[in-house]
């Protein structure tokens, strides 16, 4: 075994209680780092997943119609104030062509057209205002996994079939197989059969959304064969902004990413991340100071031994390394213990709080790179903390130290 390693390990073993305490100290620090990181990242990933489970990553819609520029007569404009025009229901007439363009944009995984409009849903003499969503039952589940959210019946939309939310079903007393009348704002109406009841985990959507086939929606909303929007899924959700920009450029339409539509959420997540990093930073700072103080004490305690080593020919470089290695060992051992502790803690926490359906309320993210980073950080701070004690040890004057036993 190399000399420095041998002496380092012996010194650590000799320091029993001290060594044990600093191992535990580093382990607790690393455990907090792993636990807080796993929890925050897990929660954030879950929040984004939940948000995106009822929202498309990218929505492509026709550009807003703006009033024509004021005519200029000489240097004076005709009108000082321009009234914004009411937005007519503008639609995508050539959506098949647009969809082909969208599908060729790098990063796009799936896209599906949607026909949207307002309607009244009624059964007997009870009526509710609903958001009518005409979709392609084959392609749409790749945008929003509605087929996995069905609580009763099946996800099936052929002819005059409809899928409604749990809240609407409750309000109108609807069950699978029941008939439902939908009256659009265009004045058209038709009778639909409820094939399924969905639960998107959002009361408002469960009350307002009614899915019908695209064909039925086009008929009800008087839209011939056009679509209102094309919704798309991207591979990496954080690429949505870039992909949306690309789509807007290629199609000349407007494309909004979920990030733009949920800017508030993202700001909240970012500040949550920063506070998590702050906690981790200060915990590791405390750990660094802890390691440094233990090693400084150790240098004082071992000054005689260091003097003997130097008197018998050990160079200052080797003495320095002996203490740097001790710092690194403390970091590595502490981070291994801490990783285990943190993972156990996170798992315990995840198992403790569960949703009624058995999924954890606090999902944790325990990827391998989390432990890799924790180990790297702890080892680096171990080394860093050892620098001052090591220099101190290297400066010891052997003649002074060994004079008196």
């Amino acid at each position: 075994m190399p000399f420095e390693w041998f002496v380092s390990i012996r010194f650590l073993r000799e320091g029993r209680m001290q060594t044990l305490l600093i191992f535990v100290g580093v382990a607790v620090g690393v455990a907090v780092m792993v636990f807080v990181g796993a929890l925050i990242d897990g929660l954030q990933a879950n929040l984004i997943r939940q948000t995106l489970s009822v929202q498309p990553h990218v929505i492509v819609h026709p550009a807003e119609q703006s009033a024509r520029d004021v005519a200029m007569r000489g240097a004076n404009p005709v009108a000082a104030r321009i009234e914004k025009s009411a937005q007519r229901t503008s639609t995508l007439d050539q959506w098949q062509v647009t969809q082909q363009i969208i599908d060729r944009v790098p990063g796009i995984v799936a896209s599906s057209p949607t026909v949207a409009g307002s309607a009244f849903a009624s059964k007997g003499n009870v009526s509710r205002s609903v958001a009518l969503r005409g979709i392609d039952p084959a392609g749409y589940p790749r945008i929003i996994p509605i087929d996995q959210k069905i609580r009763a019946g099946i996800f099936h939309l052929v002819g005059n079939e409809a899928v409604v939310g749990t809240e609407l079903a409750k309000d109108l007393g609807l069950a699978v197989g029941d008939k439902l009348r939908l009256v659009s704002t265009e004045g058209r109406d038709d009778i639909f059969t409820v094939t399924g009841v969905f639960d998107l985990g959002n009361k408002d959507l469960n009350q307002r959304w009614v899915f019908v086939s695209m064909r039925s929606a086009q008929t009800l909303l008087d839209l011939a064969s056009s679509a209102s929007t094309i919704e798309a899924t991207v591979g990496d959700v954080f690429e949505a902004d870039r992909v949306a920009g690309e789509i807007a450029m290629r199609t000349g339409l407007e494309a909004d990413s979920w990030m733009k539509l949920n800017a508030q959420l993202l700001v909240a997540l970012k500040s949550q991340s920063s506070s998590s990093y702050m906690i981790q930073f200060f915990v590791m700072l405390a750990v660094t100071l802890g390691i440094a103080s233990v090693l400084v004490v150790s240098v004082v305690q071992k000054s005689k031994e260091i003097g003997i080593l130097k008197a018998t020919g050990t160079t200052t470089g080797r003495v320095t390394r002996i203490f740097l290695i001790q710092g690194a060992i403390v970091g590595i051992v502490g981070s291994v213990l801490g990783s285990v502790l943190g993972a156990l803690l996170a798992q315990l926490f995840a198992n403790l709080a569960k949703n009624p359906d058995g999924s954890p309320t606090f999902p944790v993210d325990l990827g391998p790179d989390r432990f890799l980073i924790a180990t790297l950080v702890a080892t680096s701070i171990g080394l860093l903390a050892a620098v001052a004690p090591a220099r101190r040890a290297a400066r010891l004057d052997p003649a002074k130290v060994i004079r008196y036993g």
Binding site: F6, R13, E14, I308, G313
Partner: protein, 234 residues
């Protein structure tokens, strides 16, 4: 005799920054191969300072220290440490073993520190030395589990492992009983005889000094007498 292994050339040593105290006043001393030398003198005469300078643990304020003809004045700290490890063995009054290490490991430390790693050959050398000092069966005991005399024997084995040119001993028998002291001194003296290295013993003990070939007396930082015996010590 003849070959000089260690030489002090007009060595002066001062202590203190503002008020300096001169501890050595230009000492000239040559230690020859195979020689067994005692340095005697009252407390505070500069014996220990002299030993530290001879052992390269300290640097002179002026003058030169030469080891095997090499002037150590221009050498850096690490070069000095290496030269010290290879040329000079120490036996201190308070043995100074590393308590967390076994007897064998203590003996190995200088060679280990010099080469970085040790193999079978070095371990065997260390075992042989421990056997030579009568501690073969204690090789794997912790230093703290040994008696005072045994610890001093381990320290001697450690001092010899690098096969130094000079063995420096500071009151090597200072806190040992008479019979143990005798056998320890015999071991030290045999080193000089058998291996052709020089032994320098700093001591208060006139009995110890009487067993040396050469007795250097130092008072107030000056050598006042330097007596060589001729074949009397045999």
């Amino acid at each position: 005799m003849g070959e000089t292994v260690l030489e002090l050339d007009r060595v002066v040593k001062d202590y203190g920054n503002h008020v300096t105290t001169r501890v050595l006043h230009g000492v000239d001393l040559q230690v020859e191969r195979g020689e067994v030398m005692a340095v005697i003198g009252p407390s505070g005469s500069g014996k220990s300072t002299l030993l530290n300078l001879m052992g390269l643990l300290d640097r002179p304020s002026s003058g030169r220290v030469l080891v095997r003809g090499i002037d150590t004045t221009p050498l850096g700290d690490d070069a000095i440490a290496r030269l010290r490890g290879r040329s000079i063995g120490f036996v201190f009054q308070f043995h100074h073993l590393l308590p967390a290490f076994t007897a064998l490991e203590n003996v190995l430390l200088p060679i280990w520190s010099d080469r970085g790693t040790v193999g079978r050959a070095e371990r065997q050398l260390a075992r042989d030395l421990l056997e030579r000092v009568g501690l073969a069966s204690q090789a794997d005991n912790k230093a703290t589990d040994l008696s005072g005399g045994q610890q001093q024997r381990v320290a001697i084995a450690r001092a010899l492992v690098m096969q130094p040119d000079v063995l420096l001993a500071d009151e090597p028998t200072g806190n040992l009983d008479t019979s143990t002291a005798d056998s320890i001194f015999s071991l030290l003296r045999d080193f000089g005889r058998e291996r052709g290295g020089a032994l320098v013993v700093v001591t208060h003990d006139p009995r110890l000094a009487a067993r040396c070939d050469r007795v250097v007396q130092i008072i107030d930082g000056r050598i006042v007498s330097d007596v060589r015996k001729t074949a009397a010590s045999a």
